[in-house]
């Protein structure tokens, strides 16, 4: 009898198998689908399958006028909708060579930083939930609700704010805005240490996060990741520092770009917690001295961009959002491309995940902070 075959027959036969994570799965936060190849619990391969919420925003933009485009961008990365609006508005203003007043710049920046805070609060909550600590979800949402109320009072909507328009902002800030923002900062400064107390120092949390999903600096650059994911790997990529826009270009605002070098899930977590502190500092520096000025510069009734290519970047909560407008001089863009931070960050997932366990994949996805409509557009 064949000896080899006999050994084979008596041995455990292990097999890799495929499972579908998503499109409906609690950890994918939306309709992201990952085809996982798994050996036991060890991940061998991750293949993202996108398109479940692809709405063709880039195609729709080619048929919409410029003011109409703004509201579509709300629906991309809905957690930093103001940053998206701002990016498009800034790109159009750059093309039209409109210089908006300092008041607009300040308000845009404050609202933008509040958006970042709200996004990070939601992220903190959901990340805790992904790791199994459901309570963090409610604490995160409690604080986010305060910001949403501020938005609702000033912008008219809680999530899809649609606040920046080409040449300014839609409404002036509400008379309660400044006071509410200050109250919020006081409130959140007392609550943010609780976030640390509940999760950051926790030994289980540390064990789940430290050394998980390591992305080296070289890989981070090569994968084009941006935002907190890049900063956790030691890549300086804050657009607010590299290419200052809005109030960052007007005033020299004192804020740090948190840089960690480990590149693991824990440092991505720490970057976002630090960013929340920094955002509060930025708001505090700006909210008291919002200058007077026009809230909207006059534009033509039908906005037509000159021929050419325009590129504008802003720092959203997830990283670098680029808006590429290719105009042929008509009232709609010839081609509009959104460089969404989530899409590039997702491309790094497979590299991080291979060789780790299923539970780690969840932690990785939580700290990548993927928003699926942002990936799919």
């Amino acid at each position: 009898m064949d000896y080899e075959a006999q050994i084979k027959k008596n041995q455990f036969r292990t097999e890799e198998y495929k499972i579908n994570m998503g499109p409906q799965h609690p950890a994918t936060h939306g309709v992201l689908r990952l085809n996982l190849t798994i050996d036991g619990e060890i991940i061998k391969r991750v293949e993202p399958d996108l398109g479940y919420i692809h709405r063709g925003i880039e195609k729709m933009c080619e048929y919409d006028s410029y003011p109409q485009i703004i509201h579509l961008t709300d629906r991309m990365d809905y957690l930093s909708s103001h940053n998206n609006n701002e990016a498009v508005a800034l790109a159009i203003e750059k093309a039209l060579e409109i210089e908006v007043s300092d008041r607009v710049k300040y308000i845009r920046t404050i609202v933008g930083e509040l958006t970042r805070l709200a996004s990070h609060q939601l992220w903190w909550g959901v990340m805790g939930m992904d790791l199994g600590a459901l309570t963090s979800y409610f604490y995160g949402f409690r604080d986010r609700e305060v910001i949403n109320d501020i938005f609702e009072e000033t912008c008219g909507a809680r999530l899809t704010m649609n606040y920046s328009i080409p040449g300014g902002i839609r409404y002036d800030i509400h008379k309660n805005f400044v006071q509410r923002v200050k109250d919020f900062i006081v409130h959140f400064r007392s609550k943010l240490p609780e976030y640390d107390q509940l999760l950051t120092g926790n030994i289980i949390f540390e064990k789940r996060m430290k050394g998980v999903g390591i992305l080296s600096k070289e890989d981070a650059i090569s994968y084009g990741v941006s935002g907190p994911v890049a900063r956790a790997s030691g890549v300086k990529s804050d657009i607010r520092k590299i290419k200052p826009y809005s109030a960052f270009a007007v005033q020299d605002i004192d804020f740090k770009e948190p840089i960690y070098t480990e590149g693991d899930a824990y440092s991505r977590y720490k970057v976002r917690i630090d960013e929340m502190w920094e955002s509060m500092r930025i708001i505090e520096q700006l909210v008291d001295n919002i200058p007077e000025g026009n809230i909207k510069e006059p534009t033509k009734a039908v906005i037509k961009l000159p021929k050419g290519e325009f590129y504008q970047r802003v720092e959203t909560a997830r990283g670098e959002l680029g808006v590429y407008i290719n105009s042929d001089g008509k009232k709609s863009p010839y081609r509009m491309k959104f460089r969404s931070p989530g899409f590039s960050n997702l491309s790094a997932l497979e590299d991080m995940a291979v060789g780790s366990k299923l539970g780690d994949l969840v932690a990785m996805m939580a700290t990548l902070d993927l928003v699926v409509p942002d990936i799919d557009r």
Binding site: I19, A133, T135, I204, R208, K357, L358, G359, D360, V362
Partner: protein, 363 residues
């Protein structure tokens, strides 16, 4: 009366007073079983409500408050929903095992209840290997989880089931050893005997001081792991596996798993109370002096349930505070930390008992 438990009295009522003979015995046991079943099904349901309320209060919410006053009928409504719900199943499931699986956890959970002393003379079976019986029976439940995960022919369920097998078998050790530490103090596995030791000498966690406290901590960690609750809920880990082993179960079959989890929680807490906190004994013996027998029995139940409730709230706090561990960390915790500690603790306890360092009861 004399030295007959209430349950024995009930059975002798059927067999002797009514003169039904052997059929009286049978009727008596059936009545006892039905009462236990009904009582603990309701207990399980209200533990669900309690969990939701505790979770709500921790999470800045009200918790269920719509159905009945303070949401008291919420879980009754949920139970009715679960009973009337359609039983779905997968086409390629192993039908026999798939249908059989839910009965293991629930039956194992209910069997273990039969040995608890809820009060003086209120105990269905007072067998002399009580603790051993409890640890043995409570490990039967995992068979149901393994079967269910395997038979439902779902990869997520299979991963969950495999995790549960690994986890429960590991933590069984720690539960057993930490209880064994306490048995060194009592010298008996019989539950009534264990309580009797504490009546005169103080609660065991007091008698055994340091090793007993360590044993209690280990027991709570391992017990939480054995009930498969967060932070050890890897077998259902909803953010990783969807619903884990019961992904493919619905309606009443799911309810069995669900109810078993909560009754198991009760069992773990009840063992802890019996072994560490004096069972149905009142703190400092404040109600033991009461002469009226039925009142004493009621007080016994009251103290028992109160203590169990507090332990359960503690377990609920675990669940709503801590993130979930990863499967390799679960095993690391058991084999690298709990088990060596436990063995050291046993030696410590043995030395202590041998040298007579136990704390005497001053009252």
């Amino acid at each position: 009366m004399d030295n007959k438990t209430y349950i024995e009295q009930l059975i002798s009522f059927f067999s002797n007073d009514l003169g039904w003979g052997i059929w009286g015995d049978v009727t008596g046991w059936i009545v006892v079983a039905v009462v236990y079943l009904a009582f603990f099904a309701v207990t399980g349901l209200y533990l669900v409500l309690m969990e939701r309320k505790v979770a709500g209060w921790i999470q800045l919410r009200h918790g269920p408050n719509r159905v009945g006053p303070w949401g008291l009928f919420q879980t009754i409504g949920d139970a009715i929903k679960l009973v009337t719900k359609e039983l779905t199943g997968t086409a390629k499931a192993d039908k026999f095992l798939y249908n059989l699986a839910p009965y293991f956890p629930i039956v194992a959970a209910l069997i273990s209840l039969s040995v608890f002393a809820f009060s003086k003379d209120l105990q269905a079976f007072d067998i002399n290997i009580g603790l051993f019986f409890l640890t043995a029976v409570s490990s039967v439940g995992v068979i149901g989880i393994l079967l269910g995960g395997w038979a439902s022919n779902n990869k997520f369920a299979l991963i969950g089931a495999m995790r549960s097998g690994v986890q429960v078998i590991s933590y069984e050790l720690s539960v057993g050893l930490s209880l064994l530490t306490m048995v060194l103090l009592t010298g008996s596995l019989q539950l009534s005997e264990i309580i009797e030791v504490q009546r005169t000498g103080g609660w065991l966690i007091y008698q055994g001081h340091i090793p007993a406290i360590i044993a209690f901590m280990i027991y709570m960690i391992a017990g939480t792991a054995e009930t498969n609750r967060a932070p050890f809920d890897l077998i259902e880990a909803e953010s990783e596996l969807g619903a884990g082993y019961h992904t493919e179960y619905s309606g009443m079959k799911f309810a069995y798993f669900f109810l078993a989890e909560f009754i198991n929680m009760f069992i773990i807490a009840a063992i802890a109370v019996t072994v560490f906190f004096g069972g149905w004994l009142s703190p400092f013996g404040i109600t033991e002096g009461i002469e009226i027998e039925w009142l004493q029995a009621i007080f016994g139940v009251f103290w028992f349930v109160l203590k169990v409730g507090m332990i359960i709230v503690l377990m609920m706090f675990f669940r709503w505070t801590y993130p979930r561990l990863r499967i390799d960390q679960v095993l690391t915790l058991e084999w690298k930390y709990l088990l060596p500690l436990n063995l050291m603790n046993i030696v410590l306890m043995a030395i202590m008992v041998w040298a007579g360092f136990t704390l005497p009861w001053p009252f």
